[in-house]
């Protein structure tokens, strides 16, 4: 089930939380939603789930508009809100039964679905405990189980792994990946590595606008631009090597990394690579290379670059 967002704007007073946002998510896609605090991630998710309404523009989930057909949209969405609100006084199993009923799970399938959710989310030992008594990680699992109970076509997860331990994070990621094969998933997170590991597509928004959109490789390439190498060349004097490197036609810029005489950072000119040139240079001068590492732009750098003010 596809999600289409067209020209969505939402303001709180004078501040625009979402600013003419348009994008589309296709079935089978896991979209990672990134952005600094207050970028409009949660607001967008709340509009998709019909909790809030946009001022202008529209959101369609499987062709149904959130403004005209909210009931239909809500049926197909599984939503895990930020901070994972739950009825703390309810036992886990009662809570799941309550959500199943609200989501219109057929009475004859109810038991089976609840059991399945308890198994997939690893809640077997806690099913009769009150939610209040559970640790944060288990509460998160209960929230996730509630979001998945009606086998929704669309899954909206607002920071699904907060409060989980590393093992649980990996489990939840695997679960999301498995689910994401046939469904449409949007998940937001602060943890870039997580988004990179889980999502097929990453979207970074800032001040309500999309500032980057693509796979993690695409984003990196986009931000990286020119090749950057860190080389350690020994066998010659520091200044000779520096000069020789600077004279190479493919190299635009050379820099010392530290006080250490032999380590350089070499930036190539656009569209060319300098590894061979450096190697040849060393051969002809009798120097030798002890280290050569391409410096990859990390997603963190991309993030910082596109969201910097």
């Amino acid at each position: 089930m596809d999600i289409q967002i067209e020209n969505l704007t939402k303001s709180y007073g004078v501040q625009k939380a979402v600013d003419s946002l348009s994008f589309e998510v296709k079935t089978g896609e896991i979209l990672g939603f990134l952005g600094p605090n207050g970028a409009g991630k949660s607001t967008t998710m709340k509009i998709i789930t019909c909790y809030l309404a946009g001022d202008t523009g529209d959101v369609k989930v499987g062709g149904n508009s959130v403004s005209y057909n909210p009931e239909k949209v809500k049926k197909h969405i599984g939503y895990l809100p930020e901070n994972n609100p739950l009825y703390l006084e309810m036992p886990v199993i009662d809570y799941l039964r309550f959500v199943a009923k609200l989501q219109g799970v057929k009475p004859q399938d109810e038991k089976e679905r609840i059991l399945e959710m308890i198994n997939t989310c690893g809640l077997k030992g806690e099913q009769h405990k009150k939610i209040r008594e559970l640790s944060k990680g288990y509460k998160q699992r209960v929230g996730l189980a509630g979001a998945l109970i009606h086998d929704p076509d669309v899954l909206i997860l607002d920071e699904p792994t907060t409060g989980l331990d590393p093992n649980q994070i990996i489990e939840i990621r695997e679960l999301i990946k498995k689910i994401g094969k046939e469904k449409t998933v949007i998940l937001s997170s602060h943890i870039l590595a997580e988004v990179e590991a889980t999502c097929d597509r990453i979207m970074i928004i800032n001040k309500g606008k999309i500032v980057a959109d693509g796979t993690s490789e695409q984003l990196r390439k986009q931000a990286q631009g020119n090749e950057l190498l860190r080389v350690r060349i020994e066998g010659g004097s520091r200044n000779d090597v520096f000069k020789a490197l600077q004279e190479q036609s493919t190299i635009s810029f050379v820099d010392f990394v530290s006080e250490e005489a032999t380590l350089f950072e070499v930036q190539s000119k656009p569209e060319v690579y300098s590894a061979k040139a450096i190697f040849d240079l060393c051969v002809s001068n009798g120097w030798y290379i002890t280290e050569m590492t391409p410096i990859e732009t990390k997603l963190e750098d991309v993030f910082r670059e596109v969201t910097a003010n």
Binding site: Y51, P81, K101
Partner: protein, 238 residues
Amino acid sequence: MKSIWTVAHRELSSFFDSLLAYIMIVAFLGFSGFFTWLRGSDIFFVNQASLQTFFGIAYWTLFFFIPALTMRMIAEERKTGTIEMLLTKPLSEWQIVTGKFLATLLLIVIALSLTLPYYITVAQLGDIDHGAVWLGYLGLILMSASYISVGIFTSSLTNNQIVAFLLALLIGIFFHIIFGIMAGSLSGTLANVFYFLSMSTHYESISRGVLDSKDIIYFCSIILLGLIGSQVVLANRK
């Protein structure tokens, strides 16, 4: 309809799980029992087989108990954020509000049905006007429903339960006595308007054994206004 019942069922079991229901029932039975049977111008003093004394007392006890039951209804859900969970389920604001309304009304009906032994006892003592008793109960239920609806409305306005409680009492006190007092101290059409607005006018007329469409319209309008008001407030979040 099924969703309304699902919401109501959860609310009702949360009343019983949190002991609130038991406390309310015990306190209600204690108060009304004490004043009906043991103290002051009690039921024996009247020298008549009638439950008027009990209805007069329940009129006041319910007035104070109901805001305490309704205050958390929506305010708490707002505070903990569960309202977001609820509103993103395929469920309209109206269904949520009426579900909560029904749950509280059911609790009141349960509490009232536990006073049926009073009725049975008094009926043994002499000739009782059965019609008046049943209408008296109907009057109590209608009055409770009105205050529940008001209470849910004030609970939807805030995420502070105490504010919701006091606000419900404040609105309630106007219907409960202030309009009646104003009707007495004014004259002309204004007096008639306040007389009509006063809860006691309609409650007394029903519990005396007269069922008038005016009274039914009065209670139903308060109930509907409160419920629609809460629905509008909830829908306004957008």
